[in-house]
Each structure stands twice: as structure tokens, then as C-alpha cells.
């Protein structure tokens, strides 16, 4: 995943140096969990603004924040966690105050048919069940930790993955019996993965901030994209994907 992000960065950097600031390009760095929704919103934006070419760099929020800090040519940053946005803000990288445009919460994901008969967080303490979680260092892992603390459950994972997509893959392949992933991920996986809600999910709500960046080549266009995400159309697309309203 990281390698992919870096490769994308190289491509983006390469294009940025060869093009001029006045072209129609808009570069958006967005959290990986926004891949499907932002791709749709980007297409809408291009249709509404002829001559604009929206380019995305999807990746882990912390990696994206680091890349922006290292001078990657981004116009807009949409993060899956306020902490990563704060990094960019602290470095003076934003052109306006970040605004929260969506929220996400964890769900229990089980393979279709729920072979292990998982019903709630308590089953995550079962040594016989194969469990996958996000590593605590990444936002979905931190959120999972909060949920287990609230439920008083000591989870016994068989693997702690580096990002939520990797966790989801293990569920899709049926390699694990249960995992905690974002509700949007369950939704995106279609019929292969079944989501199960749990009471402690409120403790796992994750806020998504977005902001135009200080080094944007066209500040007005960057602001317009942020507004587009926050528009009714934007909210509808996000809600359809399983995001909560902010």
C-alpha cells in the first residue's frame, strides 16, 4: 500500500514539475477510505468545471500528511483523522481552517454466512476464532482499542494489519472469522462481507477533516472542491457509502 502511495507520489511530482501552475489540474490527497466516494465526487467536479482535471493520491492519512510535509504538490487534503490534519496545520500547510465533512464508525465484519457465529465484541476474546484487527498505530486500530476498552473485552487477534483494507481482504477471503473495520468498508465489500453493529461503536466514531492547502496552485479551485465535497450532492454520495454526517 505504502509502495503504491509512494509510486503515486512520484507520478504526481513528475507531472507537477512538468506542468505549469495555470493548467486545469487539481491534486487531492485523500485518505484511502475515501477512494470510492471521492472518485465519484471528482468526476462530478470535472463535469461541472470543464477544463479541470482532478488527480487523486489515496493513501494512509499519516503517510499523506508526511508527504505534504515533505513538499508534495497537493491542493487539497482530506484526512481520516484530525491528528494527521493537525500535523499539516501545525506546519502551516493549510490555506483555511479544516472542516469536518464526514464521520465513520467501526463495524464487526464477518465473511458471508458468518461461519464462526460472531454476535458481538465479546467473541473477539475467543481464542478459537480467527481475528484480524488494525494495528493500534493506525486510526482504525486506535478506534478498535477504544471500543474494546469500553466493552471490557481483551481481544485476542491473530494478526494486526497495517491498514483497514488489508484487514478487509482477510475477511473477504474467509481467512479470519471476524474483524473490526469501518462501516464504509463493509458497505464497499458488497455481499462478500457482512457487517454487525455493536453498542460501543459510538466510541469509535472517526471524524474526517478537509482543507485547501497553502501551496495550492489555484486557491479558488481548491476551495471550490472543498465546497463541492460539503454540498448536498457530496453529503448524499458520502451517506450512500456509509459515512455519518459530521
Amino acid at each position: 500500500m505504502r509502495a503504491l502511495a509512494l509510486a503515486a507520489l512520484l507520478v504526481v511530482t513528475g507531472c507537477g514539475t512538468s506542468g505549469t501552475g495555470g493548467d486545469g489540474r487539481l491534486t487531492v490527497f485523500a485518505a484511502a477510505s475515501l477512494t470510492e466516494t471521492f472518485t465519484r465526487l471528482g468526476a462530478d467536479f470535472e463535469a461541472a468545471n470543464p477544463g479541470v482535471d482532478v488527480v487523486f493520491n489515496f493513501g494512509g492519512s499519516s503517510a499523506l500528511a508526511q508527504q505534504i510535509g515533505q513538499g508534495a504538490p497537493a491542493d487539497v487534503f482530506a484526512s481520516a483523522a484530525p491528528a494527521n490534519m493537525a500535523q499539516v496545520v501545525d506546519a502551516g500547510g493549510t490555506a483555511a481552517e479544516p472542516v469536518t465533512f464526514a464521520a465513520n464508525r467501526l463495524e464487526i465484519a464477518v465473511p458471508a454466512g458468518n461461519p464462526a457465529g460472531i454476535t458481538g465484541l465479546a467473541d473477539f476474546a475467543d481464542a478459537d476464532a480467527k481475528i484480524a484487527l488494525c494495528a493500534e498505530q493506525v486510526p482504525c486500530g486506535a478506534a478498535a482499542k477504544r471500543a474494546f476498552e469500553a466493552a471490557g473485552v481483551t481481544a485476542r487477534p491473530d494478526t494486526v494489519e497495517q491498514d483497514v483494507k488489508a484487514v478487509l481482504t482477510k475477511v473477504r477471503l474467509g481467512e479470519v472469522d471476524a474483524a473490526l473495520v469501518y462501516r464504509t468498508d463493509v458497505r464497499a465489500a458488497g455481499g462478500e462481507v457482512v457487517g454487525i453493529g455493536f453498542p460501543e461503536a459510538d466510541r469509535t466514531v472517526n471524524h474526517y477533516p478537509i482543507a485547501p492547502l497553502a501551496k495550492a496552485r489555484d486557491a479558488a479551485r481548491a476551495r471550490a472542491f472543498v465546497d463541492h465535497v460539503r454540498s448536498d450532492r457530496g453529503r448524499a454520495v458520502l451517506a450512500e457509502a456509509g459515512f455519518d454526517a459530521p
Partner: protein, 255 residues
């Protein structure tokens, strides 16, 4: 001059990032970090798994190399190409392929699970398998090259002296291709030690069980870049140490 300049650039390209790693290393806190149990655990696991994977590669790869170099098999060219596929396959894809075959619902894995209760993903054995899958082509190519360079008539001479194929291979061929086998083993071990993609995909990541050094580096990068650098430096030093120890063999290559 036409060769020297690109050569120097090439050398710099390979070495400067490593130097950068060393420059950025937090030398002050290095000893404390090195002695932390999690680093020791990851390092121990890495060394054990890479070594076990190398043993697996030797046991399976040397006979395979012999088959490719000497065997009377139809479609040897195709077979040779297939064996090297893991070299070009993104390791992550290799990991997914392993899941499809050896996972709980995999072609073979489902029977392993149903009949023997054996499940390979998320286990140390899974790490060894993933590393062996990615590293074996290095060994096979190296040994096969040495075998093809070796004169098969020595095996014939051994046969006329009453040696079975196996004895001839063990006592005559293997000693003559030893430099190639050693070079292949080192390459294979080094590749296994640095393996990341197939391991994390097939074996997952759990400290003490499947978290090898490269996985630990990757995880640490998320939150603690300094720790990641320390882990990388350790990995770098271990690899350089081993490669340097075998340098003579390495440089002489298969002969």
C-alpha cells in the same frame, strides 16, 4: 569516461540512500531502542524464519535446479520460466496466491484445516512459507546456472565407477558447484530476510509470531519514524555483515 560517469552515478544511487539512513539514525537513543524486547523479538524472528526458509529452499530448490539443468523433462524452457515467476510477481500478489492455495478456504488449505486442523496463515510457519516462496527462485537460478556450467561428464565418470545418480550428485556434482550453491543460499537468505509483501499478506502481522523486521519497520513508520530507522539500520548491518562474511564466495560466484 563514458563508462565511469554512469558507474559512479549508479554507485551513488545505490549507496546514498543507505548513507542517508545512517545519517538520520538517532544514534543517541539507539542502544536503548536496540535492547527493547520488541526489536529483539522481531530480529530473532526474522533470523529464524529467514534461515528456516533458506533450509526449505535448499531441500526443495537444489533438486529442482538439478531437474531443470539435467533432467529429461519435456517443456523445460517453460518450466524454467515458471520457476522464476515469483521474481517478477509483486510479493503481495504472491501472498494472495498463497492464501488462495494454503489459506483456510484455499484449494489445499481447506483440507489441511478439515483433516489435520492445520491452518498456516497467521503462523510462523506461514512466514517461512511466504519467504521461501519469494526467495526460492534466487537459489534455483543460481544453482541451475552452476549446474549448467558444470561438466555433466563427471557424473558419467562417477557412474562408470559404480556410483548411483544420487551418490554421483552428492559426492561429485555438489562439491563442484558449491560456490554456486553458497552464492544462491546467501541471495536466498538475504531475500527472505527482507521479505515483506508476501509475508504480511499471507502470514499477517502479530508480534512474536509473524512480525519480522520489515513488518516492524513498516508499522513503526506510521508512528515512530525514528524507531523505523533503528530497525532498518539493524537490518542493514545484519545483511552487510553476512554478505561481507561470504564475500569471497560471493564474488567468485559459480565456477
Amino acid at each position: 569516461m563514458a563508462l565511469v560517469l554512469p558507474a559512479v552515478v549508479g554507485l551513488a544511487f545505490l549507496l546514498v540512500p543507505l548513507v542517508g539512513l545512517l545519517v538520520r539514525a538517532p544514534w543517541g537513543t539507539l542502544p536503548a531502542r536496540l535492547l527493547s524486547p520488541s526489536v529483539g523479538e522481531a530480529l530473532r524472528l526474522s533470523l529464524v524464519c529467514a534461515s528456516l526458509a533458506t533450509v526449505v529452499c535448499l531441500v526443495l530448490g537444489v533438486p529442482l535446479a538439478w531437474l531443470l539443468a539435467r533432467g529429461d523433462v519435456p517443456g523445460r524452457g517453460v518450466l524454467r520460466a515458471l520457476v522464476t515467476v515469483p521474481l517478477v510477481l509483486p510479493p503481495v500478489v504472491g501472498g494472495v496466491a498463497l492464501l488462495f492455495v494454503l489459506g483456510r478456504r484455499g484449494l489445499v488449505g481447506q483440507y489441511l484445516d478439515a483433516w489435520f486442523g492445520v491452518s498456516l496463515p497467521f503462523t510462523t510457519a506461514g512466514v517461512v512459507l511466504a519467504e521461501a516462496f519469494v526467495a526460492m527462485p534466487f537459489l534455483v537460478i543460481s544453482v541451475e546456472g552452476a549446474l549448467r556450467a558444470a561438466d555433466p561428464r563427471y557424473e558419467e565418470a562417477a557412474a562408470t565407477l559404480g556410483a548411483s545418480r544420487w551418490l554421483a550428485f552428492r559426492r561429485v556434482t555438489l562439491p563442484s558447484i558449491l560456490p554456486g550453491v553458497v552464492a544462491g543460499t546467501v541471495l536466498c537468505w538475504a531475500r527472505a530476510l527482507g521479505e515483506f509483501g508476501a509475508t504480511i499478506t499471507f502470514a499477517g502481522n502479530f508480534p512474536g509470531e509473524t512480525t519480522t523486521m520489515p513488518l516492524a519497520v513498516y508499522l513503526a513508520l506510521e508512528t515512530e519514524p525514528d524507531a523505523a530507522i533503528v530497525l532498518s539500520v539493524v537490518l542493514l548491518l545484519v545483511s552487510v555483515g553476512v554478505l561481507a562474511a561470504l564475500r569471497d564466495r560471493w564474488i567468485s560466484g559459480p565456477s
